[in-house]
């Protein structure tokens, strides 16, 4: 009986610790976001650094996004074709791929790839800067590190991810075209025609618009974990891991609400 009570106490203690840790994390993150928000609103703005970060994040993540979205387009077309063939609608694979990619999969795959490459990079870079006192060096040089390091990276994520998503959409559709031509016997012209026939701007724009929020999530989460790195090089590893895992998780959760919202607004 006493042992059972002890186990119950331990469980309550463990849950309590997790709740406290979560509230602590949420509080820290909120304060961090407020500081970043203030940095984005008030000058000075580090435009050159923001452009440099856009280059690092965008250009260097592009190949990864292209390969991933091309593979995704192929797999989606192969699976979709199997189902559509049951209903004698194999030609509509073009429409299925286009709709799926531009409304959902393109933004998601671009977001996850940016989190994997750019988010990990930001978490590791800021973490290393923290443990080697480079962030303190900025502070004592009278340069606000939140403005110079964090706000610029978050802004770069928000501006870069929509552009990456456009490429992801196009290449994903191209992946579908390959399957449409090789397995569904479609010509490039008919695939092109069926892709555009049902695709409207209200299918494309919400998908791209929500990647601005994904960019905000990736930038904020990755910079938060990197900026608050503790425990030396071990901490840098932890920050890098957290930057990716938490970013991807938050993107997927946010996508639920954003999808609901965009469906309500644009249908």
């Amino acid at each position: 009986m006493a042992e059972h009570q002890h186990e119950k106490d331990s469980l309550v203690t463990v849950i309590g610790h997790h709740v406290v840790a979560f509230v602590d994390y949420a509080g820290d993150m909120t304060v961090f976001c407020i500081e970043v928000g203030r940095s984005l609103v008030f000058p000075p703005w580090f435009v050159r650094e923001t452009i440099a970060q856009m280059y690092h994040l965008g250009v260097k993540s592009l190949a990864l996004v292209l390969v991933a979205s091309f593979a995704l387009g192929i797999v989606l077309a192969m699976q979709g074709l199997k189902v559509l063939t049951w209903f004698g609608a194999g030609n509509y694979i073009a429409t299925l791929v286009a709709m799926s990619v531009v409304r959902e999969l393109g933004p998601i795959i671009a977001g996850i790839m940016l989190a994997a490459r750019g988010g990990a990079g930001m978490g590791a870079e800021l973490g290393s800067m923290r443990v080697t006192s480079q962030i303190d060096a900025l502070t004592v040089s009278a340069v606000n590190p939140i403005k110079y390091l964090v706000a610029t990276r978050i802004l770069a994520c928000m501006l870069t991810l929509p552009l990456l998503t456009v490429f992801a959409d196009l290449i994903g559709i191209l992946g579908g075209l390959v399957i449409g031509m090789t397995q569904a016997g479609m010509s490039a012209t008919s695939y092109y025609f069926l892709t555009l026939k049902y695709l409207e701007l209200r299918d494309i724009l919400p998908g791209i618009a929500k990647t601005i929020v994904f960019g905000l999530i990736i930038g904020t989460v990755s910079c938060y974990h990197g900026f608050n790195t503790e425990q030396g090089t071990f901490g840098v590893g932890q920050s890098t891991k957290s930057a990716v895992v938490v970013s991807v998780l938050f993107i997927l959760i946010a996508d639920v609400f954003l999808t609901k919202f965009t469906l309500l607004v644009w249908g």
Binding site: T132, D136, V140, V143
Partner: protein, 275 residues
């Protein structure tokens, strides 16, 4: 207990308009620690520190690892805030500085050399030195390039201007970091363990640089160290920290003759160190 320091130029000799830093009179201390205390998670790091540092003086703060030396000096630039007591720099009570804007003038006039050098990895040595100038002045590119060259030549590193910090030796990294901290011609320099891990020849080079800055440019220096070789060469006065309290304050000669057990231990350990 303390000897009279040589007064040289004053911090804030040329104060900016609206600067919170007023130059003290020459015989007035530039930095005053008054009853300063600090603790982390209940662990007392500094207790009742009272210390005055005069313009143009080089004050070396000695102490064992973990005795609170770095915390004490990092308070001068706002990296840590005292829990008790006050710190005054050039007449400005640091507890009144809250925002980054409030700290700006003080930080622009203070150079800080970190123990780990803290050079920005993503920039070349030249870009590291140029960075404070780009951020805080409206100098032209040519002028900045000229000044970067000048600062690097002061520390004997003109030839590494295009190298990245990772390509430098430990001693070169310290000197490059020193060049960066000199970028805006500071009136006060804080050196955090400037010679730790360096060979005696490089220690002497760093000491020579520090003496040059003090004697020729009149810079006030606060040096955190446990290197007696360096201390002997640069210190006007020595403050010895022991478990967060000030155990000794005086010249290096007085330190050598002190009967303070911690001071004796320091000197004794030095004598026993194999050459």
């Amino acid at each position: 207990m303390s000897s009279s320091p040589n007064s040289r130029s004053l911090f804030g000799d040329e104060p900016e308009a609206g600067s919170p830093l007023e130059a003290p009179a020459r015989d007035q201390p530039l930095i005053v620690y008054k009853d300063v205390g600090k603790q982390f998670d209940g662990h007392v790091v500094l207790r009742d520190i009272n210390l005055e540092i005069y313009p143009g003086e080089t004050m070396v703060i000695l102490g064992r690892s973990g005795s609170g030396k770095t915390v004490m000096t990092s308070m001068l630039v706002g990296l840590h805030v005292p829990d008790q007591g006050t710190i005054t720099v050039a007449g400005t009570d640091l507890s009144e500085l809250e925002s980054d804007e409030d700290w700006r003038d003080l930080r622009l006039k203070t150079g800080y050399l970190f123990q780990a050098s803290a050079l920005y990895d993503s920039m070349s040595v030249g870009e590291n030195v140029a960075f404070p100038m780009e951020q805080h002045t409206d100098w032209s590119r040519e002028e900045i390039a000229h000044r970067v060259q000048d600062k690097l030549s002061q520390v004997g590193l003109e030839e590494v201007i295009n190298l990245s910090p990772g390509e430098l030796s430990g001693g070169m990294m310290r000197r490059a970091a020193l060049a960066r901290s000199l970028a805006l011609d500071p009136r006060l320099i804080v050196y955090d363990e400037p010679t730790s891990g360096l060979d005696p020849i490089t220690v002497d080079e760093i000491a020579r640089l520090m003496r040059h800055l003090q004697k020729d440019l009149g810079v006030t220096s606060v040096v955190v160290s446990h290197d007696l070789r360096l201390t002997e060469q640069v210190a006007d006065r020595v403050a010895l920290l022991e478990e967060g309290t000030l155990a000794f304050l005086g010249t290096f000669q007085e330190f050598g003759q002190s009967s303070n057990p911690e001071a004796r231990l320091f000197l004794h350990t030095k004598e026993e160190t194999p050459k």
